[in-house]
């Protein structure tokens, strides 16, 4: 950048960054910092605050309920992430072909993304109704007796995962589409000269070229999956028998039902540490792949 006079630079910083920083500080950073401070207290929201040091963290790490919620969260991620990324990749490949009406298709696949989680969860709760829901009725056409879905601890998480995949696929697809458009045409042309087509072309050109995109969607989906909450809250409230109890649901319950804001904050920061660690790990992995990529 052209060297600007320091004074001009600081003026520009004040004007351009100042408002954002002020807003971020007051409305986001301060509350986040407060939650860190509160995690060292046993505040019940109603009475006075007492400071209890690391007790909340010690309790959280040994709490079977927290570990159960963590396990359920990981189950959710395992079910949700590969399926979403895989289906979205396939869909992006289809939508990247020069076919008529692809703009319309893209729009359709994106509609669930912009619909609110509350609305989506309500609709799917209804679709997954064991007797009257569309899903089991459709399974019935093929002679399959559908499960109890959200009422069955074996299937409830699957129901939540299906709903989440349905909602997020359009989003991941669009990112893949952008990635596909970044692949230089000449690579395919060269490959065509060598007689490489079809599956091989995908495997040797498209897929490697999409690695950065895949890293990208995997990471952002991981961060949001760790904080899965809305759909769980509307659809199952963590049930049945705790089968869909996830981290943020536990945090919400502790904060607003059990009067344990301090504990809820501590669990949040444990979750933060996890997300942060995964993000860093992803960063390192990506670097390694980049390097081996040349």
């Amino acid at each position: 950048m052209s060297p600007a006079a320091p004074r001009q630079k600081y003026l520009a910083l004040a004007v351009l960054l100042g408002p954002s920083l002020a807003g971020m500080f007051v409305f986001l950073m301060l509350p986040v910092a407060s939650s860190l401070v509160l995690s060292f207290s046993n505040w019940d929201l109603i009475g006075e605050i007492q400071w209890i040091g690391l007790d909340n963290y010690v309790a959280a790490l040994g709490d079977p309920v927290v570990l159960g919620a963590l396990r359920n969260t990981l189950t959710y991620i395992l079910g949700y992430l590969p399926a979403t990324v895989g289906i979205a990749l396939g869909l992006a490949l289809l939508l990247n072909r020069r076919i008529r009406g692809r703009v319309v298709f893209r729009a359709i696949y994106f509609v669930p993304v912009v619909t609110s989680w509350v609305a989506v969860s309500l609709i799917w709760k209804w679709l997954l109704n064991p007797q009257y829901g569309l899903v089991n009725v459709a399974l019935g056409w093929f002679g399959i007796k559908g499960p109890g879905w959200l009422f069955d601890p074996q299937w409830a998480m699957t129901g939540v995962i299906l709903t989440s995949i349905w909602k997020d696929i359009g989003f991941v697809t669009v990112i893949y589409l952008a990635g596909l458009q970044d692949i230089p045409e000449h690579l395919y042309e060269a490959a065509a000269l060598d007689g490489v087509t079809g599956w091989q072309r995908f495997w040797h050109i498209t897929f490697p070229m999409l690695v950065p995109t895949t890293f990208f969607v995997t990471t952002i989906s991981l961060i949001s999956s760790f904080q899965v909450f809305d759909q769980v809250w509307v659809m199952t409230q963590g049930g049945p028998a705790g089968a869909t109890s996830v981290m943020v649901e536990l945090i919400y319950k502790n904060a607003f039902s059990y009067y344990r804001m301090g504990y809820a904050s501590a669990i949040s920061w444990v979750l933060f540490a996890l997300i942060f660690a995964v993000t860093i790990a992803q960063h390192v992995l990506q670097k390694r792949v980049d390097r081996s990529d040349g």
Partner: protein, 328 residues
């Protein structure tokens, strides 16, 4: 992360876009917007084109299969909405019949009447629109300015500030609500529009998104402006914002969506029915003892249609924003 900050001319590392805001303050969906500056780059950028396949569309076997798959998928995407609409037009009795009715018989609009009777829906609609539009405009403005500053102005503590922004995305909103409420109360802002608007006018995500976008812009244009004596501020408002239009539009859609669908914060900060927004009305339709699905679905339709309309209107821009065509 640090090295990218030090060498902004290098295409941004994808992990930087892990900036991502999960639901809490703004919607996971916002992430979409970060697609424009996607990796790929590395100097091998495609000629702007229609994708990898240059053949003209023909009805051959693969194409038929493609259509079949796409139509099936589109059906799966749309059926739930059709079901929502259908249920919203059913009587209570027709809601629970086997096999389920696709076309309600009889068709009734009573459910919509009930929704409008249960609450001042018109006022809620106005509040939702006003709050969402205002916060979206502010979000886009603040993020464009700060994104440019992060991308182009070097200053001490920039990396640390980045991390501070990032951290706000990794803590669930559920535990920051109460502190935020206390701050708002201290400002004397409970039950005001500014309290509804401002928290969704700032976000690390938008700042990062636009920072990434600006990082990818060639500097030549700005260099020329610098030589002409323009400062950073003038460049932002005359050149950068203009160039970033598709990215701004993308951010706008997601900012609007996040604000429109926001529930917990409006619930807590509004005490007066005249200040409440649509999601609050929707939640009030679920009774403590029984739920009228048909009425609830009517409310869902009312809350969903505007957001889909906004999307359909803006989707042209989104696709542009995603296709790196900002410089064409």
């Amino acid at each position: 992360m640090a090295d990218t900050v030090m060498h902004p001319q290098r295409p941004p590392h994808p992990v930087l876009r892990t900036d991502l805001s999960p639901e809490g303050r703004g919607a996971r969906g916002l992430d979409l917007a970060s697609a424009p500056p996607l990796p790929g780059g590395r100097g091998r950028r495609a000629a702007p084109g229609e994708g990898a396949f240059r053949r003209s569309p023909r009805l051959n076997l693969p194409n038929l299969a493609t259509y079949a798959l796409l139509i099936l998928g589109a059906g799966i995407m749309l059926l739930p909405f059709a079901w929502m609409l259908s249920t919203s037009l059913k009587t209570r009795g027709a809601t629970f019949v086997t096999p389920p009715q696709w076309i309600p018989d009889p068709v009734t609009f009573d459910n919509y009447g009930k929704v409008f009777d249960s609450a001042p829906v018109g006022q809620f609609l106005f509040n939702s629109l006003f709050v969402s539009l205002t916060s979206t405009a502010l979000m886009v403005l603040f993020c464009a300015m700060s994104g440019y500053a992060f991308a182009r102005i070097e200053f001490r503590g920039r990396t640390v500030l980045f991390y501070a922004y990032l951290a706000t995305l990794m803590i669930p909103q559920q535990v920051t609500l109460t502190p935020l409420f206390i701050i708002m109360n201290w400002l004397g802002w409970t039950n005001t529009y500014q309290a509804l608007i401002l928290p969704s006018s700032f976000g690390a995500f938008g700042t990062f998104l636009l920072r990434q976008f600006f990082l990818r812009l060639p500097r030549e244009i700005e260099e020329a402006a610098f030589i002409d004596g323009a400062g950073y501020i003038r460049i932002v408002f005359t050149i950068a914002i203009h160039l970033a239009r598709p990215a701004l539009a993308t951010l706008a859609v997601f900012a609007f969506m996040a604000s429109w669908n926001s529930f917990l914060w409006p619930l807590i900060i509004t005490t007066d029915t005249s200040m409440m927004t649509l999601p609050l009305g929707l939640s009030a339709l679920q009774g403590r003892w029984t739920t009228d699905w048909n009425v609830l679905m009517a409310g869902t339709v009312i809350a969903t249609v505007p957001i889909i309309a906004v999307y359909v209107f803006a989707q042209r821009f989104i696709i542009k924003g995603l296709s790196h065509t900002g410089l064409k």
